[in-house]
Symmetry: C2
Subunit: 389 residues, 2 copies
DNA sequence: TTGTATGCGTTATCAT
DNA sequence: ATGATAACGCATACAA
């Protein structure tokens, strides 16, 4: 495969441009072209570096151009999908690039294109058991579409504002927020003009892009089923007050309970973990003085804590003496020991929707806000009696 | 607080430098200074943009400098911790920066400093229940130390090499790999001179930086305890063959079993999930034709699957008829329904060690490889009889 | 199709 | 302490 003439190493001509040289002292030499600079550097490295300890300097497109005897822009073009490059050129560049281990520098690219291909994912706490599933799905989706995930976990104590500042610094193309944020923090996204999608949370006042599961609908459905099965005295172990999702679940349940004319439920507050489910049950029994017919827990893990405590600590039979239901449909809820009655969120669909939305938003930033609402799926497990009592 | 004289808006003098203008046609005007360019752009934006739709252009340090009547480098310095800036200057810059909502561009900074403050975290699959804990800890540690986490999840099917290529493109300062990588892939880290720490895996041939838990020691301890309690016929549900951790656990157990002169154990292979624990138990019973004294599972989730299947499907009493032990010490292993006998890995310490090591390595790249080995903690739960049988 | 020249927004190196 | 200027590595308009 003979090289075409125009690919022969023709060194770019030295730059004798409009700069008619300088009178003011013999200080500054005429500026060398970047390629020439590179040439010099390469020479320095070659003489300086010991053979085995190869240069710490990264290989750049200039190095490839120099070696191939072409221009830097030619190299750049060869790495751009739709560019107009002759096959011979592309082959040559790719060959040399491989030889030199050249990898395009995404940082430099981002600077010029103003697209970092970075998306920030904000997540409250990964220990929640539900969020890892979400994160996993989001990652898959974004990776599939050529976006990299910059992960921010927001522990409760930490200074969230300071963390969010980091998001701006890195010029992310978009943000998925599955974390507890104040309206002010969300407003900041808007002000910064960074496309963002909220996951399982919305704003009261402003319409925003969001993917949510209809928690109220789900909670109502749950109560309806429990009531139909004859449960009369219901109790609730709610999520923490700063969890929008938790509040909605509680509200939906309470509303439906009232509609059905059932007794006003006892509500104790949990924080989504196993122990607060256990503590919640004990507190309910203390307040009520007896066993309720059913306990609605703000998530599966609390429900699991509740079931375990009922069975192994209090000697209560679940479901015959007490029904327990949860929310989320995390994997452990399906384990044989629990086989929890719960409302499963379609995590995969929701994550996919969030990724799709964000990508569409990045492409077309001024679309009007959209909210995609998914329904939870009722899972009839073995921790509740749902036939007639 | 009167401004000092030298802070008065003194516009940088226009650039009448060595360029003695050009004869060749009236094409190129003398190059304007960056500040002047910026000034012009700002003007264009002001006249073009509608009042409410503020400019999409990001605010840069030039904008701040322009507004404050100082040089761009002064602005830059004010955002650098140790720089020598007068208090008055700093105050002025910060005030204007706040007014304009200026945020330094980390991308541009990275380009010049050659430090991205980005670390890549490579994780196999987040659905493993053990990895979210690791990831969470790693994140905390890195965030605390001013590094951002670029997350890469490696699904089994995906082209790992292509994913890793993305790591190089983003010029990460370091890598923590808690994923199944081939020795070639690890060698690539080395060749690229990117500091890296392996989490819970090492290389056979080369010494590498790694944080590991001593799986062999743990497995041996487990067998020792089981044997001391009188268990004679042991069986193993191993992790998948491509999991180094799993292999070591199996090897340690097998060696110790041999040393103690016990019968050679049946070994069936699982893939770390709940169902493969269940399937593993059934397979063991099939092969053995009877119940073994104890089953050692490659991780907690398989152990849980094993316990559940024994109790709820096969009607076996755990631990009186069958002991089951696991590895990891994930949260569900502590739940009352299981109260699993297991070896807990000190995840928090390990993650902290990994972060520390990587940061030290970034600061001093040519340190010789170190391996930090942690011991697992034996947790005596209720799924095994460990007193005399 | 290919090369030249420029700019992205910052930090670093000077000179002042 | 401050300002002017040159990189950093790439993509892109424009000229050829």
């Amino acid at each position: 495969m003979a090289e075409k003439t125009f690919l022969k190493p023709k060194l770019p001509k030295t730059r004798n441009t409009n700069k008619v040289s300088k009178p003011p002292a013999a200080s500054k030499a005429p500026k060398a072209s970047k390629l020439q600079q590179r040439q010099k550097k390469a020479a320095v490295v070659a003489t300086t570096a010991t053979p085995k300890e190869t240069s710490r300097r990264a290989v750049t497109s200039y190095d490839v151009a120099l070696r191939a005897g072409i221009s830097q822009s030619a190299v750049s073009r060869c790495f751009k999908p739709g560019a107009s490059v002759s096959p011979a050129m592309r082959a040559l560049v790719m060959k040399v690039a491989r030889e030199l281990d050249y990898t395009p520098n995404a940082i430099a690219r981002s600077l010029i294109t103003r697209r970092s291909n970075l998306v920030a994912v904000l997540i409250s706490n990964l220990t929640n058991l539900y969020y890892p599933e979400v994160l996993s799905e989001l990652c898959q989706q974004f990776e599939k579409r050529g976006l990299r995930v910059l992960l921010f976990t927001l522990p409760h104590e930490a200074d969230v504002d300071k963390m969010i500042a980091q998001v701006w610094e890195y010029q992310v193309d978009g943000v998925v927020a599955a974390a507890r944020l104040t309206p002010q923090q969300v407003a900041e996204f808007e002000r910064r003009q960074v496309p963002f999608v909220l996951y399982n949370r919305t704003l009261q006042d402003k319409p925003v892009n969001a993917v949510v599961c209809d928690q109220i609908e789900g909670a109502r459905l749950l109560v309806t089923r429990l009531a139909a099965a004859g449960h009369k005295r219901l109790a609730i172990i709610s999520g923490p007050t700063d969890s929008v999702v938790g509040q909605e679940r509680t509200r939906g349940a309470r509303e439906r309970i009232a509609e059905l004319g059932l007794a006003k439920p006892i509500i104790v507050e949990g924080n989504y973990d196993y122990h607060s489910g256990a503590a919640g049950l004990r507190e309910i029994l203390r307040q009520l003085g007896c066993t309720p017919d059913a306990i609605i827990c703000g998530n599966d893990v609390m429900a699991i804590g509740c079931v375990d405590t009922a069975r192994h600590e209090l000697g209560l039979n679940v479901p015959t003496e007490l029904s327990v239901v949860g929310f989320d449909g995390v994997e452990p809820s399906t384990w044989l020991s629990y086989n929890l009655t719960t409302l499963r969120q379609p995590v995969q669909m929701m994550a996919q929707a969030a990724a799709e939305m964000l990508i569409a938003l990045i492409a077309k930033p001024d679309s009007s806000p959209e909210k995609r609402v998914f329904s939870a799926q009722f899972i009839e497990g073995g921790t509740s009696v749902l036939g007639p009592l």
